[in-house]
């Protein structure tokens, strides 16, 4: 098994890594590079806890070989904060109580980041669709949806139950 030399951008930093061809992306990030913010859950693309951004688009890193990221840009949850300053989505998740055990949170936030870049004012349905590949077994999703909508519209004071009225599509 010949090792693969790969070069890619990881959270804005150029990385050169020698990987085994049978190493998955999530394993390289966690085991070789020590970035344990990306979680390993089901390993089959069902739970979304291993979500990373590949050239800005969210993907399951358990379903990619590490060798495939050669020449690409990867963003993990560690790449969102600016020093000690959290990303607005991270702050909103904390403020809205959208984090319980936290296992799904990195994936939720990365899927949400991609959504807000494409659609800065999403409807509730668009939020729920965007996170439909990310499973949460703690929160029942409501607070996660609220946290994402609140990031999109920081002035909105809506809470559970009002979300629909506040964010109906035009």
């Amino acid at each position: 098994m010949k090792k693969c030399q790969i070069t890619f951008q990881l959270n804005g930093i150029t990385c050169e890594v020698l990987v085994n061809p049978n190493q998955t992306l999530v394993r390289m990030l966690r085991d070789d590079l020590g970035l344990t913010g990306t979680k390993y859950g089901c390993g089959e693309g069902d739970c979304g806890s291993c979500t990373v951004l590949l050239d800005g688009e969210p993907v399951n890193s358990c379903l990619m070989l590490a060798a495939q990221v050669d020449g690409h840009q990867i963003t993990t949850i560690e790449g969102l904060a600016d020093g000690d300053k959290l990303h607005p989505l991270q702050t909103s998740f904390i403020e809205k109580g959208a984090i319980q055990c936290g296992f799904c949170t990195p994936g939720m936030i990365l899927s949400a980041k991609n959504l807000l870049e494409k659609q800065p004012n999403p409807s509730e349905l668009e939020v729920r669709t965007a996170i439909s590949g990310n499973l949460c077994r703690c929160t029942g999703y409501q607070k996660i949806v609220e946290a994402i909508l609140a990031t999109a519209s920081p002035d909105c004071q809506c809470s559970s139950g009002d979300v629909k009225n506040c964010h109906e599509e035009d």
Partner: protein, 289 residues
């Protein structure tokens, strides 16, 4: 979980990829989106000596059209297809792509992989059957075109030989006044393998009411995705009415060959009828626009 050991090949063009496949044959597996392959590797249900990744081959990505129809590279992702405008008939394909897996899966999964894995429930198969697509297969020194209706053989099996690579999917141009739609039945909206799927494509005469051509394709109700030939033939020359659509739905339900694996055969047939009527109604609306 550790994957079996293999060597990794990332050819930069199709000719190089064909050469590699000619050398290794069935010892090699093609890697397109990886959403099925990586799971098979993890489960150790396959253990190829070589993986041949197709993601550096630009010719396999994206779509383009000419007067004959539309070509799609086999590595075009479900997300790209879901966001594309293929016109009133081709929208059946975009609708199917938009319901595969999850946003995360759709960013990786490819049309070529969806067809090559040949699952009875593959969502992009019914619309492509209804659109009379053909598939271009290449190997070192030769290429052939296979009608999608001749492509699937059995669950997980299609006509590709070990050296062949799917390069393109061709969708022929349909006459003006054509429309298509896709319907999927699942117990949830995301990460769901279709219990039943139906695609319908119809072409109307100039009067905007009489059906000139129709094709209805069914997923997950037979060992392979299938055309409901009799249901479609029964619509030709008839008016697009609720009564005729219901009749077509009943015929499609008879043509389905459900084996009662994921739901009872009776329920499958009943839902084939319902979904066929819905798909025909929406295809008619699309054709009328």
């Amino acid at each position: 979980m550790l994957l079996p050991k293999f060597d990794y090949n990332a050819p930069s063009d199709l000719e190089e990829a064909c050469q590699i496949m000619a050398n290794y044959g069935d010892q090699a597996k093609l890697l397109a989106g990886g959403t099925d392959l990586l799971i098979a590797l993890q489960k150790k249900s396959i253990a190829p000596a070589q993986i041949v990744a197709l993601d550096r081959i630009e010719d396999l990505e994206g779509g383009w059209g000419d007067e004959d129809g539309f070509f799609l590279g086999s590595r075009t992702t479900a997300a790209e297809i879901a966001e594309s405008d293929y016109g009133p008939a081709g929208q059946a394909l975009a609708q199917a792509a938009s319901q595969i897996g999850s946003p995360l899966i759709r960013n990786l999964a490819t049309i070529g992989g969806n067809l090559a894995t040949a699952m009875p429930a593959a969502d992009m198969a019914p619309p492509l059957l209804a659109l009379q697509a053909s598939i271009v297969l290449q190997k070192y020194g030769s290429r052939r075109e296979v009608a999608i209706s001749d492509f699937f053989v059995a669950p997980g099996e299609q006509v590709m030989s070990a050296e062949e690579i799917m390069s393109l999917i061709f969708i022929p141009e349909l006459p003006a006044g054509s429309g298509g739609a896709f319907e999927k039945l699942g117990v949830r909206k995301a990460l769901e393998r279709s219990i039943i799927s139906v695609a319908a494509v119809i072409s109307l005469n100039d009067d905007g009411k009489t059906i000139n051509q129709a094709r209805i394709a069914l997923g997950a109700v037979a060992p392979t995705p299938m055309l409901a030939v009799n249901a479609a033939a029964g619509l030709c020359g008839k008016k697009a009415t609720a009564k005729n659509f219901t009749e077509a739905g009943k015929t499609a339900a008879q043509e389905a060959q459900p084996r009662g694996l994921r739901t009872s055969a009776l329920y499958s047939r009943l839902m084939v009828e319902t979904l066929t009527v819905r798909a025909l109604n929406r295809a008619f609306d699309a054709a009328s626009q």
